[in-house]
C-alpha cells in the first residue's frame, strides 16, 4: 500500500480531497505540516494540494515555496521520488524551482471554474502511469485565476524535446503557452497540473477519470 504525504500550508484547501483521492485509490494519505521537517523515507511519494497558500501574497506559491518542508521535498525530488502538485501545488513547485515555468493571471483576468478536456501528451511515470495513454483525452475541472502557464521560447522547445509536457488543454481557457496544463521535470518524477483530478473521482462529481491519476 502506497503511503503518500499530503502537504498543508496556511491557505491550502484541497488537502482533504487529496487524502480521499489517495484513499479511494487504495493508498494511505497522511497530512504533513509546512513548518515540520519530514523523514522522506517513511513515504512513497508526496502531493501538494491546491488552495491559496499565504493568500497568494507576493506571487501564487512564492511564499509556500520557502517553507521548511520544501527542503525535504527538494531532497525527495532529487532522489527520484514521485511528487505531484495540483493547482496551487503546481504553482508552489514552479516557485520552488522544482518544475520549469511560472503561472500567471489568466489572460481574461477572470477566475475560471469549469470542466475542461485535456490531452495526455506524455504520461507521468507514477501519477496515472500508463492508465491514461498518450493522445487520450480526459475530462477534469479547473478552478483558478492564476493558471496561465508561461515559459520562454527557448525553454519551451526544451520541454517538448524532453517530453516534459504532461497534459494540454484541448480548448485553452487561460492563455497558457502551447496550451500547457501540466508539466514534469526533466527526470519525470515531479509533475504539476492546474486541473483538479481529485474533483473527478466518481460519476456523481461529473466524471471519474481523475481517479486514474492517483492509482
Amino acid at each position: 500500500m502506497k503511503k503518500i504525504g499530503v502537504l498543508r500550508f496556511p491557505g491550502t484547501n484541497c488537502d482533504r480531497d487529496i487524502i480521499q483521492a489517495v484513499n479511494e485509490s487504495g493508498g494511505v494519505g497522511e497530512y504533513l505540516w509546512y513548518q515540520d521537517r519530514v523523514d522522506i523515507n517513511q513515504y512513497d511519494g508526496f502531493i501538494l494540494p491546491g488552495g491559496f497558500s499565504y493568500g497568494d501574497y507576493l506571487r501564487s506559491g512564492a511564499l509556500a515555496a520557502q517553507a521548511p518542508v520544501m527542503d525535504d521535498i527538494r531532497e525527495a525530488a532529487s532522489k527520484g521520488m514521485p511528487i505531484m502538485g495540483i493547482c496551487n501545488g503546481f504553482q508552489i513547485l514552479c516557485e520552488a524551482g522544482l518544475l520549469p515555468g511560472a503561472l500567471m493571471r489568466n489572460t481574461s483576468s477572470r477566475f475560471i471554474d469549469k470542466w475542461v478536456n485535456l490531452e495526455m501528451i506524455s504520461p507521468h511515470q507514477f501519477f496515472g502511469g500508463q492508465r491514461i495513454s498518450k493522445g487520450e483525452v480526459v475530462h477534469f475541472p479547473i478552478a483558478h485565476a492564476d493558471g496561465r502557464y508561461y515559459i520562454d521560447e527557448r525553454e519551451l522547445s526544451g520541454l517538448h524535446d524532453n517530453e516534459q509536457v504532461w497534459l494540454t488543454y484541448k480548448d485553452n481557457p487561460n492563455g497558457s503557452v502551447a496550451n500547457i496544463a501540466g508539466v514534469k521535470n526533466k527526470e519525470g518524477n515531479v509533475g504539476g497540473m492546474m486541473p483538479h483530478p481529485e474533483r473527478a473521482l466518481f460519476e456523481w462529481m461529473g466524471g471519474s477519470e481523475g481517479l486514474m491519476i492517483f492509482l
Binding site: 511564499l63 489568466n106 508561461y150 492563455g175
Partner: protein
C-alpha cells in the same frame, strides 16, 4: 536603521494583465497611454552597518524570494 526599496515589474515580453486593465480604464478617460505596467514596491528596513551591505542583502532577498526572474525584473535602491 537603513531602508531599501525594491521595485518589481513584469518583464516587458510577458503579458501584464493588471497593467492592461489599468491602461484600458485610463485610455477610456482620455489619457493616451502607450503602455502601463503594474508591479510591486517592497520596502525593507534593516539594521546594517552600511548602506552597501543593506543593498547587498536586499538584492539577495529580491533574487531569491521577492522576484521571479522568469517573469519579473527588479531594482533595489537605498532610501
Amino acid at each position: 536603521m537603513i531602508k531599501v526599496a525594491v521595485k518589481i515589474l513584469p518583464r516587458p515580453e510577458v503579458l501584464d494583465t493588471q497593467g492592461r486593465a489599468v491602461s484600458e480604464i485610463l485610455n477610456k478617460q482620455g489619457h493616451e497611454l502607450h503602455q502601463c505596467q503594474v508591479g510591486r514596491y517592497v520596502v525593507l528596513e534593516m539594521e546594517e552597518s552600511s548602506k552597501e551591505e543593506a543593498l547587498k542583502k536586499a538584492n539577495a532577498m529580491a533574487e531569491k524570494v521577492l522576484h521571479n526572474p522568469l517573469i519579473e525584473v527588479f531594482e533595489a535602491e537605498v532610501l
